[in-house]
């Protein structure tokens, strides 16, 4: 059985092709101004890697904030539904799935079948999402990818109390003026963000095992800070940014008659 999951994110479109429960192709394209076109391009890319033609696909399910713009899809699934499905498929012991994307963060509580039980979401606030790291990297004049490894070198925490991107920028500038070293500042940024995300998770109730997915899960600095805040191990799948699309492809498989 061949199915496709499309995750229409605010920054990138991710596509995963699943054949008999295994990922056989992935595609990622910037959402840009025409997300529908980006979705098509990402699908073509993923199918090419899978060496499959679009005619062989039995069902396409879209998810993500722009899911209605995935014109080729047969159905849609909520982001929380896709997160839960993917998390439990990666790690059967997973009961809390945290998804931190470019502009939104979610925590989903689920059962052993990957069915969502409850969720919380942080939307419309950049402080708990990837946009926060991006803005702070700009203030520090460094690449976003450099910040994580740098933060791990920090010898101590130097807290910034901002839970807002706008104030966070001023706080970072203050730290620069105080001649705080870059690793400490980078860690302060991740600590502030982990604070925001963990307080959201605590509202939901922390049930292990915890899985972290979404593009921000690739950031070692954020992962280290979140582990410290939650006080437990966090499971991260390979290619965490494709988890939503993978979940959608699994949902699609369940919808094939």
């Amino acid at each position: 059985m061949i199915t496709v999951g499309i995750d229409m994110g605010t920054q990138t479109v991710k596509v995963v092709v699943v054949k008999d429960g295994h990922v056989v192709g992935r595609g990622k394209v910037f959402s840009g101004f025409e997300p529908s076109k980006s979705a098509e391009t990402a699908c073509t890319e993923a199918l090419k890697i899978a060496k499959l033609s679009s005619a062989e696909v039995e069902h396409i399910t879209a998810t993500g904030s722009g899911m209605e713009m995935a014109l080729t899809s047969d159905s849609t699934v909520s982001m929380m539904g896709a997160d839960a499905k993917a998390g439990v498929s990666f790690f059967p012991s997973a009961r809390t799935i945290i998804d931190v994307g470019a502009e939104e963060a979610r925590a989903v509580k689920c059962d052993d079948r990957g069915i969502m039980v409850d969720f919380v979401v942080n939307e419309r606030c950049a402080a708990g999402a990837g946009a926060f790291i991006e803005a702070m990297a700009r203030a520090l004049e460094m690449k976003m990818e450099e910040m994580g490894p740098l933060a791990l070198k920090a010898e101590r925490a130097s807290p910034i109390n901002a839970s807002c991107v706008i104030f966070g920028e001023s706080d970072v500038v203050t730290l620069i003026h105080r001649q705080e070293s870059k690793p400490e500042i980078a860690r302060a940024v991740f600590d502030a963000m982990a604070d925001r995300v963990s307080s959201m998770i605590f509202r939901l109730g922390l049930t292990p095992d915890v899985v972290l997915i979404g593009g921000v899960a690739k950031d070692v600095g954020f992962v280290a800070s979140l582990k410290r805040k939650l006080g437990l191990e966090i499971l991260i799948p390979e290619h965490p940014e494709f988890a939503g699309a993978y979940g959608a492809a699994l949902v699609a498989a369940g919808r094939v008659k």
Partner: protein, 303 residues
């Protein structure tokens, strides 16, 4: 006497004018009870000097990286040209975000109590609801006829609707901050508010609207509207009771004030003609602090 710092409007759109003023028809005598309030906000530092509970002089400047220094500077500016020294001040109250860092203060009091007292002084006993829009937070405060706080709500640590958020938009749209209110009203029909109140996301949304061909004024109107709705919600949550007044830096933003009135269906008491009578709503916190300082001094003297 009104001194203003020059503003390089072509490069720093966010930068607002710093003010200093001494009431021309007032003089002080040695026996007067002179008190001061120093309000160190996240964006602006304000100091007010009062003679026997009447406003005498004040100064407003931008808060620097160092709070104690900002407090000293603001107070010195309020004292400039008065012939007074810090030693002549019988009691000094520090307030605002940086209140614990006011080195010369006899006491620190929260800005909520100070704005309540200050609004009562500026507009009189009919004020029941005060919206204080500062640099980094928004507070809706219910007060009684003596200017005492009954209850309050605040939006903490989020730039949406704050003075800082407005500065970001002034820079983005290249409109000097002091014109932002008027410019936002230069639209034929009010556009839909931007969907995101988060300043970071609203910025992205605004850039999209500009690319779509919206005028700067229209984009500004959409943003200001969203912020006004946010403030109106806070006021409704604390419970709106007339009269309503706006204090803090945003009290001078006519675009915000007009829209709050439209959303709530209630007029605010007009902003005092501060250039003439010295009652600047932006100094409300410092005025309130100086008044509370007077009361504390009298109490300490057994009065």
């Amino acid at each position: 006497m009104l001194k203003e710092t020059p503003v390089k409007e072509d490069v720093e759109y966010w930068r607002w004018k710093e003010y200093h003023r001494v009431m021309p028809d007032k003089t002080w005598k040695n026996k007067d009870l002179i008190t001061a309030g120093v309000d160190v906000g996240s964006v602006g530092s304000k100091a007010a000097i009062m003679i026997d509970g009447e406003i005498y002089s004040w100064g407003i400047m931008r808060t620097g990286a160092n709070s104690p220094e900002s407090a000293t500077k603001a107070l010195n500016w309020a004292l400039e040209g008065t012939g007074l020294n810090v030693g002549d001040l019988k009691y000094i109250v520090g307030t605002g975000y940086g209140r614990v860092n006011v080195p010369m203060a006899n006491k620190a009091i929260t800005e909520i109590a100070c704005h309540a007292k200050g609004a009562n002084y500026i507009w009189g006993p009919s004020v029941r609801t005060v919206l204080d829009v500062g640099g980094q937070d928004i507070k809706a405060i219910r007060i009684d006829d003596t200017g005492r706080v009954v209850s309050f709500l605040m939006n903490d640590k989020c730039a949406a609707g704050t003075g800082r958020g407005m500065e970001v938009f002034a820079d983005l749209l290249k409109i000097p901050i002091e014109q932002i209110g008027e410019q936002s009203l230069k639209v034929e029909t009010e556009p839909e508010p931007v969907s995101c109140t988060c300043v970071a996301f609203a910025k992205t949304e605004a850039m999209g609207l500009l690319r779509k061909g919206w005028s700067k004024e229209k984009v500004l109107a959409a943003y200001t509207r969203a912020m006004a709705v946010r403030m109106a919600n806070l006021i409704n949550r604390v419970g709106l009771e007339k009269e309503l007044v706006v204090t803090g830096g945003q009290s001078k933003n006519v675009g915000i004030v007009t829209r709050i009135e439209n959303v709530l269906g209630v007029k605010t008491l007009p902003s005092p003609k501060w250039r003439e009578n010295g009652l600047d709503p932006m100094v409300a916190g410092a005025i309130g602090a100086a008044l509370l300082g007077r009361a504390l001094y009298l109490k300490s003297q057994g009065g």
